[in-house]
Symmetry: C3
Subunit: 266 residues, 3 copies
């Protein structure tokens, strides 16, 4: 685990350009800022090229897509490739909504992102595996083996890093796999924690010198552990106080915390 | 009062589809999640049919409407009727903005929602009664009698359940009426608490087996009481801390709290 | 310093109409409400005229502009002039994004706002001075002299009040200048505090009887001091808890706090 990436994030203050889920964009922007990045959200075709050039990584979240955002998302991934900026895709809801799945399959074929993060149902649907997902919620069943298969298949199919989040987070390329087992079930009650993680993966990718697998692992570890530390300190916290404390934990979490409490297999 | 509906909400985890007020949608989504539902917000015409079929209830809020959202709102209410999903309408600002009132009157004639929730000024304007409303704020004058009339008239006119919120909440059908007197004046300082209640009414409607009057009563009771319990525990809380504690109270509020502290006349 | 304006805000409850940054609009709306105003956000061309007439001041923020919002922003400033409502412009990101700068220059020439608020990089770019700005972040270097020049030049050029925020806030007209030195560096970590201040300037402008220079000074003082008081009371607070406490401080801040702790030169 490249734990020192956390220090790089805090020093480099990378700018992350997002096409965001409008519901959760305030939390996402504040998550990026708390961990040490600088957030920018856009909905404007005319500025996409200029600001992609300035950005250090990009993240596309389709939580509240529509016709306009579809076009923008495609354009943003295209510009990211042109300017060699790392890109993360969060395919919110494709496990449940067929219109979203067909859009994302088309998107991934035209402009493959460097990293895809979703829950098991979302990633499964990208490789045509049926998975009992309810809406856009994450799945926390104990099917680690099958999740490994899904993650690897998806990484192989799109030749990118794949992150499947749940009770355990699984990070895969076509030939490597890693698991993070920190976390808290409060992540499933507070809306938008997955969106926040996707953009935080972009933050780590921005300072990773192209090693997106290590970036994704560290982002999941830092994020899951931060939630776990909140619950350790305030076990009876509700979902809203959890969210606030999570942001403040992301602001202070450090290399020592990770060395002491991090649970990962590789 | 069908207090057991609260248990049903917590077990059934109904999915609530929203056309949301963009300003308050994060609070609304987290309110739905805290009480036990699963929120989904949409702005996309192409997915409306698919996701209405999956949803257990829908809520239309016109707090930040525009041409696009007008069309979507009409379409969502139409699909909700087609698939027999309960629908809630929050006609934000129609007491003050004539363009909103004319849109909502047209909407209600074409696709009447099952439940309408607003403040006295908003509901009064739907039945052409003049009411001194300032902008979109709720009215907390002590005009219970006239509010009863307004609520009943509106329920009669549109043949739906009508909820008028204020210091006292009034829930009416054309022939029944009920009042909730729990609450806190902090609801008027924190932006979006009305929007949150409208979507929480949809949560209760989703598990009510078609009894929308009882669903609306319970939603108002649970919501108003949760705010009151926050103030009881932390009397000097400011509006932002109130909002966070309200969400956390919605997460833990239970049947015993309601039996002990609920104030309602029927 | 016209400290009594704070009391006027709390009594008058002015309605502030915003074209908002979609990322931060919830915080902004709650900031307006906490200090004593009544927020309204719009994205709808058809209602602009009606609601500008009702509003007591308007604020245009271009943090998430697009083609539609560009047109709306121009129209809102036009209507504000027509109905003599004070107007504030927050030119987010123009120091870094050329497409935004050219839009704002055009906007300011066609419909000059009464007050412009930005960081040093943004205001510098309006008067064609180069300034090392990174993205949309505020600059807290100690270049008070050159900031004075930039602020005055901009105020002269557009004949309006100019506010440059940073470690010290600078408020200028073409012939007057004033500085506020309260504050906290947590303002730079929490996303959207600048947006919140811009709308709070509109709140004070709404009750200032046309004295926008005094309104801007008081808004900066109240806002900066509120942040400072939060840090004084809870020195180790993280950015999310800071944000919540800031809103609650804005709700309770009073004339005595300002007399006791305010730091300003005029």
């Amino acid at each position: 685990m490249e734990i020192e990436l956390l220090k790089k994030v805090k020093t480099a203050n990378p700018m992350i350009l997002n096409i965001a889920n409008s519901v959760t964009q305030s939390d996402v922007a504040n998550g990026i800022s708390a961990i040490g990045g600088s957030p920018l959200m856009t909905n404007y075709d005319k500025e996409i090229a200029s600001i992609t050039k300035m950005a250090n990584a990009v993240c596309v979240n389709i939580g509240t897509l529509n016709q306009e955002q579809n076009k923008l998302s495609l354009e943003l991934l295209k510009q990211a490739k042109k300017y060699s900026k790392p890109s993360v895709l969060d395919p919110v809801g494709i496990g449940a909504v067929p219109e979203r799945l067909s859009f994302i399959k088309e998107l991934c074929e035209k402009e493959t992102p460097d990293i895809i993060r979703g829950n098991a149902g979302e990633i499964a649907s990208l490789v045509d595996i049926s998975w009992s997902a309810k809406g856009i919620d994450s799945i926390d069943e104990d099917k680690t083996d099958s999740i490994d298969e899904i993650a690897k298949n998806c990484a192989e199919k799109y030749q990118c890093v794949v992150v499947v989040t749940g009770a355990t987070d699984t990070i895969a390329t076509s030939d490597k796999i890693s698991h993070i087992s920190n976390g808290s079930n409060m992540f499933t009650v507070r809306v938008g924690t997955g969106d926040m993680l996707s953009s935080i993966i972009a933050v780590f990718a921005a300072v990773s010198d192209g090693n997106y697998y290590e970036a994704a692992k560290m982002a999941c570890l830092v994020f899951s552990l931060s939630g776990e530390l909140v619950m350790k300190e305030t076990p009876n916290v509700g979902p809203s106080a959890f969210s606030s404390r999570l942001l403040d934990q992301l602001y202070t979490v450090n290399v020592e915390d990770i060395k002491r409490w991090g649970k990962y297999d590789e």
